[in-house]
């Protein structure tokens, strides 16, 4: 117990001496937590830094396993030194020692094997990770032997709803493509747009092609306007929200079609309408001509058409008239 205490306090000392602590706002929710960033300031170190380290935040995330598995989503906005703590409560059958190790994206981190003693009826491990850029993000899992697993999903903030179906527009027309970050998520530093060229993503520079592309950034939203569309403009477009640690990408597909495409169903429907109207009116004309021919001998009416019903009624009335009088 005392050894682990010393071990832990050693770690703390190390942390304290090299880095500037910033207490970040951690809101613990079931699924995800944010590490929000106060604006990164240039530090005034009390002791000169030992290495040319850029001043970064420090944060800690702890998970206490209740079952056999747990997954924790962590949104990382800026580079951070992240301490991940895993606690697994033991039971009466627990071994006094257990071997645990870390994996990143399914690959075991060889240097992370360690023996964890059972203290206060639980196994506890804490490890520090330096998350600097996109490669450092991913799924970090800690396995307590073969039995229990804690998963931390480190990612940059995901984009809000992006349309998964293709956006359709017309040759010669313009189109607006929109990407936005959820209201609750932090604002990106900037936005980039890319177009798919073969297997590469080519960044779109709006200044170079001002007559073709226009990018408008409004904080958590970005719009790409493409003018004078041609069929070659069809394809996949990517929008990237640039954060300190990585760029979060979203993609959408643009389809450019000519006016002939909707014109075909339109003409089809037009033909159907004309045919139906003609059929209905012709049916009526032929129907009335038949009635007209048979009705000339009978009593005439206000209209030119007589129906059978009228004939019956007229006959019935004439008979009643006779009866009454």
């Amino acid at each position: 117990m005392s050894i682990s205490c010393m071990h832990f306090s050693c770690q703390l000392l190390l942390l304290l001496s090299f880095h500037r602590h910033v207490n970040t706002n951690l809101s613990v929710s079931e699924n995800s937590t944010f590490i929000t960033e106060p604006p990164v300031e240039t530090p005034e170190p009390k002791t000169p830094p030992l290495a040319p380290l850029t001043p970064t935040q420090t944060a800690q995330r702890s998970v206490v396993l209740t079952g056999e598995n747990h997954t924790e989503k962590i949104e990382v906005v800026n580079p951070v030194i992240l301490n991940l703590e895993c606690v697994w409560p033991g039971n009466s059958k627990s071994l006094p020692n257990i071997t645990g190790y870390w994996t990143k994206d399914g690959q075991t981190i060889e240097t992370s094997y360690s023996n964890i003693p059972l203290e206060n009826d639980r196994y506890r491990l804490i490890k520090e990770f330096t998350i600097m850029n996109e490669e450092d993000l991913g799924i970090y899992s800690y396995l307590f032997g073969p039995k229990a697993k804690v998963e931390f999903i480190l990612a940059a903030p995901h984009l809000g709803e992006v349309r998964d179906k293709p956006i359709v527009s017309y040759v010669g027309d313009s189109v607006v493509m929109l990407c936005k970050m959820d209201e609750k998520k932090p604002q990106p530093i900037s936005w980039n747009w890319y177009i798919q060229n073969g297997t590469n993503k080519v960044q779109i520079e709006s200044d170079a092609n001002a007559h073709k592309y226009k990018i408008t950034n409004e904080g958590k939203k970005t719009k790409l306007l493409v003018y004078n569309l041609t069929e070659s403009d069809s394809g996949v477009y990517y929008c990237g929200a640039v954060y300190g640690v990585a760029t979060s990408m979203g993609h959408m597909q643009l389809r450019v079609i000519t006016y002939y495409e909707p014109l075909k169903p339109f003409i089809g429907i037009l033909a159907e309408v004309v045919v139906l109207v003609a059929v209905i009116l012709l049916y009526e004309k032929t129907g009335s001509r038949k009635h007209g021919q048979s009705g000339t001998e009978e009593n005439t009416d206000q209209t030119n058409n007589l129906s059978h019903r009228d004939n019956d009624v007229a006959e019935g009335h004439s008979s009643t008239r006779q009866r009454k009088v």
Partner: protein
């Protein structure tokens, strides 16, 4: 008891036969009129981005369309009075089609207001009024059923257009969709071609003469139409002196303030309570489905012997039921409560819609219905348009939906009670007038039969004399 149609119409409506084809045609016309403006909301998000306008500006397209549809009511009535239903509906179909096709080439939001809103709205007005009017000419005995069936067009067409519009949007974007929708709305012309003018069979028998004398004040306008003023020939302004019409108008104007807002806010209310978007959308589908079945059922009920003579009370009950439903809504807990509310609201809404125009026909008679509905729609324009925005402002002001529901409940309950009271008096007065007329007829027929029997005796005497000689 409302006067029998044979005396006011001057002919016997077929009550069947081709009438059912006309009901189908009216089903389509009415369906497009009510459902089309609502179904366009699918396109708004993309159009909003394309033209770079705010959501309220784009929502105005629907509002302008609805406003034009109601405001063009009197024009539609005038045209129907003059030319009959068929040409007006066909012109209406062409107008909507033209409006949508022009809108697909639109370059600004104003362009959309004019093409979709004004031209489209006028086209829909030219569909709505004639469709309602022609039912009155083809049906009398089965009229509530015919009306109920025709009004079912609205939820059915809406349920069809909503997924169709989504599909068109995914395949063709908004421009192509507008073009194709222009084609689809041309089917209103097909509906118009089905609206054959009814064959007016005039019966020449003494029984009919007696009936004509029964309603001297009703028959008089028929005779003196030539001598009336220019305006009177086009649209029947004298309706404003008609007791039943005034009751209907006053009640409806108040009612429409609170009629549509609960539907508009059903999904946002559900989301506000923490329900996810799909379940909230499901509430609207449940509502529409219940509405679809309740309308013909209400029409059928309205046709039964017990309810038909007192159909105004049935309508008053439906309106009050709506009011009670809204008052209870905020008290219902959770998603299950909201589903129950959607079902009961669907029933209430369907009942009112099915009877909405049937009661007007019942009050003013089929002949004056065309003018009546034109006047009613232009006056109802204001509450229909103002209702949802005012409700929205209430929600924003209080931050809670329940006050809006309470207000809507009151706005429906008050007209309901108003209808009950006023129609009680109206029915009494109508009975009195009928008794007076019957007395007058009795006197005249008694004189008549005396004269007849005297002449008969005279004939017999002369004949026997002839035989003798």
């Amino acid at each position: 008891m409302p006067p029998p149609a044979t005396s006011t119409l001057g002919y016997t409506p077929p009550d069947g036969g081709w009438g059912w084809a006309v009901v189908f045609a009216a089903f389509i016309s009415i369906g497009f009129s009510y459902a089309f403006p609502k179904s366009l909301t699918v396109f708004f998000k993309e159009i909003q981005e394309y033209f770079d306008v705010s959501y309220s500006e784009i929502a105005w397209v629907s509002s302008v369309m609805l406003a034009s549809m109601y405001a063009a009511g009197p024009i539609s009535s005038v045209l129907v009075n003059r030319y009959g239903s068929r040409p007006v509906v066909m012109v209406g179909g062409l107008l909507v089609g033209l409006g949508m096709v022009l809108a697909s080439f639109g370059t600004s939001i104003i362009h959309l207001y004019l093409c979709v809103g004004v031209i489209g709205g006028f086209g829909l007005a030219f569909n709505l009024q004639p469709a309602l009017t022609i039912i009155g000419t083809y049906f009398h005995i089965k009229r509530p059923l015919a009306n109920g069936l025709a009004m079912t067009g609205s939820p059915v067409v809406l349920s069809t257009l909503a997924p169709l519009n989504q599909f068109l949007f995914d395949s063709f974007g908004w421009r192509g969709s507008f073009l194709i929708l222009g084609g689809i709305t041309l089917n209103c012309c097909v509906a118009g071609s089905l609206m054959r003018p009814v064959k007016k069979t005039v019966e020449s028998k003494p029984k009919e003469e007696a009936l004509e004398m029964n309603r001297p004040e009703e028959a008089a306008p028929e005779v003196s139409t030539e001598g009336q003023s220019c305006v009177q020939r086009f649209i029947d302004i004298s309706l404003f002196k008609h007791r039943g019409f005034l009751i209907y108008l006053v009640g409806n104007v108040v009612m429409f303030f609170g009629f549509f807002a609960p539907i508009v806010f059903l999904a946002p209310y559900a989301k506000h309570q923490g329900i996810d978007e799909y379940s909230a959308a499901l509430l609207l589908s449940i509502f529409a489905l219940v509405d679809m079945f309740v309308r013909p059922a209400t029409g059928f009920l309205g046709n039964t012997k017990r309810i038909r003579p007192r159909i105004q009370y049935f309508f008053a009950f439906a309106v009050s039921f709506n009011g009670v439903c809204h008052l209870l809504c905020p008290l219902l807990p959770g998603y299950a409560g909201l589903v129950g509310y959607a079902v009961i609201f669907g029933v209430a809404f369907g009942m009112v819609c099915a009877l909405l125009f049937e009661t007007l026909m019942d009050l003013v008679g089929a002949q004056r219905f065309s003018s009546a509905v034109g006047l009613v729609t232009i006056i109802e324009c204001a509450p229909v348009l103002l209702g949802p925005p005012i409700a929205g402002a209430m929600v924003d002001a209080f931050g809670d939906y329940k006050y809006m529901y309470y207000t809507c409940g009151v706005l429906m309950l008050l007209p309901g009670i108003f209808f009950f009271i006023m129609h009680y008096f109206n029915y009494k007065k109508l009975e009195e007038e009928k008794r007076q007329n019957n007395a007058a007829v009795d006197m005249r027929t008694a004189e008549d039969s005396e004269l007849q029997s005297q002449s008969h005796k005279q004939d017999l005497i002369t004949e026997t004399e002839k035989l003798k000689s």
